[in-house]
């Protein structure tokens, strides 16, 4: 049986959705999944990881401050000791930070942010975007351990698993760089990469003071994050963590709502694989309408409050 090691992230004992999807991607190849949970509360996430399909969960006991290079060294050891053929992580901030180091320890290349993962005749294959999704490449590897990160919101998380075998393991000591403080995020605020719904505003929002309307619509949807075009990030209206596009974040939510965004090629590159796209723009010829599934032509400042109220009603009827 082929084993795949998956880095499983959790916070406060709650497994992260993107990691459950990553386990789902690994299980779908028929492999056995060994999930590695780490940090305070690592044990509390183990059952959820089993339910998502992990046969075995290793909980790394946290010994002092978090260090991504120490974690990467531990993961590489676990991959080698378990004889795993592949290593996967979600392409979250942590996954993107740790997975390349694990790959280098294993002297293997890394396939980042994959949107397809499979195996044929024992060889793994991935599908990943090039040029921010302007082209799609199918790739395999001719050596090393197969290392990849999976894009959030693309793979299905399973709930068909059972209680996993759980083992404790002491985390390796040291670390060349350590986290000394974390400034916690406002509770409930989701990252654009992980949210099921992204509501983004552009220059058509007229000014930073109107972004409350964007936030309200996101709140009405629930499980939603707010995004932005580069024009408004550069103008200082919104933080750069919200920028969607070729030089920002690439997102693939169930629903992407572009409000007052023209649809420049660099913006489209970051959101064109969203499942459904809604555009609100006062210019009926704006390029964003070319890729939107549903468009409303008109003034965003007038439409947003009405849409927010209607979404609230629609969701309360469920």
């Amino acid at each position: 049986m082929v084993t795949i090691v998956v880095l499983a992230e959790q916070s406060n004992g709650q497994a992260r959705r993107a990691s459950l999807e990553c386990i789902g991607a690994a299980c779908a190849t028929g492999s056995d999944v060994l999930a590695v949970s780490f940090g305070v509360g690592a044990e509390n996430a183990a059952l959820a990881l089993g339910k998502a399909g992990a046969k075995e969960v290793i909980c790394l006991s946290s010994s002092g401050a978090y260090s991504s290079d120490a974690l990467a060294a531990d993961l590489a050891k676990i991959v080698q000791e378990s004889g795993a053929k592949a290593f996967l992580a979600a392409s979250s901030a942590t996954g993107k930070d740790v997975a390349p180091r694990v790959a280098a320890h294993l002297d293997s290349t890394l396939f980042s942010d994959v949107i397809g993962f499979g195996s044929t005749g024992g060889a793994f294959q991935v599908v990943r975007p090039w040029l921010a999704g302007k082209a799609i490449a199918t790739l395999s590897s001719n050596g090393g351990i197969f290392c990849a990160t999976t894009r959030p919101n693309v793979f299905a998380a399973s709930e068909a698993g059972s209680a996993p075998k759980i083992t404790q393991r002491a985390a390796g000591a040291g670390g060349k760089a350590t986290v000394t403080a974390i400034e916690a995020k406002v509770a409930g605020k989701l990252d654009v990469k992980e949210a099921a719904v992204v509501v983004s505003g552009g220059r058509g929002m007229k000014g930073p003071e109107n972004f409350g309307l964007i936030e309200n619509l996101a709140t009405a949807f629930g499980n939603a994050a707010t995004g932005a075009s580069r024009a408004v990030v550069d103008a200082g209206w919104r933080p750069h963590a919200e920028q969607v596009g070729q030089t920002g974040k690439t997102v693939a939510p169930q629903l992407y709502v572009a409000v007052g965004i023209s649809g420049a090629i660099q913006h489209l590159a970051g959101m064109r694989t969203s499942k459904a796209i809604v555009a609100i723009n006062k210019d009926k010829d704006a390029p964003i309408f070319k890729i939107a599934d549903y468009g409303i032509v008109g003034d965003a400042l007038e439409i947003l409050p009405a849409l927010t109220a209607a979404v609230k009603v629609a969701r309360s009827q469920h």
């Binding site: 901030a93 790959a103 799609i136 590897s141 090393g144 169930q254 003034d299 007038e302």
Partner: protein, 250 residues
């Protein structure tokens, strides 16, 4: 202090993607090139470190000879020298072979501090910085948007899904640069003139074969045509109904 800025020449963000006739690569006809967006931040941060601690900045790229245009621009902004590791086949480079070739040269240069971009906007690997740090056995902080360097180390801030982390590290180190870290300077006329006499060495990279194998390159599936559901706030009910009954996201 010996400082290195790793930079890559990438197609401009306006570049149109079209699979080449072999179906295994992209057709670069008509493309123009630029310094990858985040590498401009890496160069700027390297120049700031030199201004603070003295020493010199080497601009390092693995790529075609044509990348001398982008390297020359870095020299015009204030870097001291450039190295082009001449790559016969840049399009098929994987992050592992890139990181190994860069790490070998960085070791040979005797550098202590390396800046790279968070991601290069061509293959979007976001991998080469932390990989090369691991091959070197150095500290590495990725996606840094604020950095304070002191003698022998520093602290960096990076944004994650759970909040902003403060990371403390010792030199030697690799820092990958995110937006917000700095505002890259432009080259001055004096800088451009001065850059003409600065050295750019062209060398063969350490020969590391790729592991990554391309099986197929295609265009993304076209989105099916959408429609305008209406105008103004009056169109909201039609949109809600489409989201609920067709897209099934409500």
């Amino acid at each position: 202090m010996k400082i290195v800025a790793c930079v890559k020449r990438v197609p401009t963000t306006e570049a149109i993607a079209k699979p080449a006739s072999d179906g295994l690569s992209l057709d670069p006809t008509g493309w123009q090139y630029m310094l990858s967006f985040y590498d401009e931040l890496a160069l700027e941060e390297a120049l700031k470190a030199k201004e603070k601690f003295g020493g010199d900045v080497t601009v390092l790229t693995l790529g075609p000879s044509d990348a001398s245009k982008e390297v020359r621009e870095c020299l015009a902004r204030g870097a001291d020298s450039g190295v082009i590791l001449k790559d016969a086949d840049p399009a098929s480079r994987d992050p592992r072979s890139t990181a190994k070739a860069l790490a070998a040269k960085i070791r040979a240069l005797g550098a202590e501090l390396v800046f790279a971009g968070r991601v290069a906007t061509d293959r979007d690997n976001a991998a080469v910085g932390p990989m090369l740090a691991t091959y070197l056995g150095w500290a590495c902080v990725t996606e840094v948007h604020a950095l304070v360097l002191s003698e022998g180390g520093g602290t960096a801030k990076r944004e994650t899904e759970h909040g902003v982390e403060t990371v403390s590290f010792h030199l030697p180190a690799v820092i990958t640069c995110n937006k917000g870290l700095n505002e890259p300077r432009r080259s001055s006329l004096k800088g451009i003139m001065g850059a003409k006499s600065k050295p750019i060495a062209e060398e063969a990279p350490e020969n590391v074969p790729n592991q990554s194998v391309v099986l197929k390159v295609e265009m993304p599936p076209a989105r099916k045509a959408g429609r305008i559901v209406g105008e103004g706030a009056a169109a909201v009910p039609a949109l809600i109904s489409a989201l609920r009954n067709e897209a099934q996201v409500l």
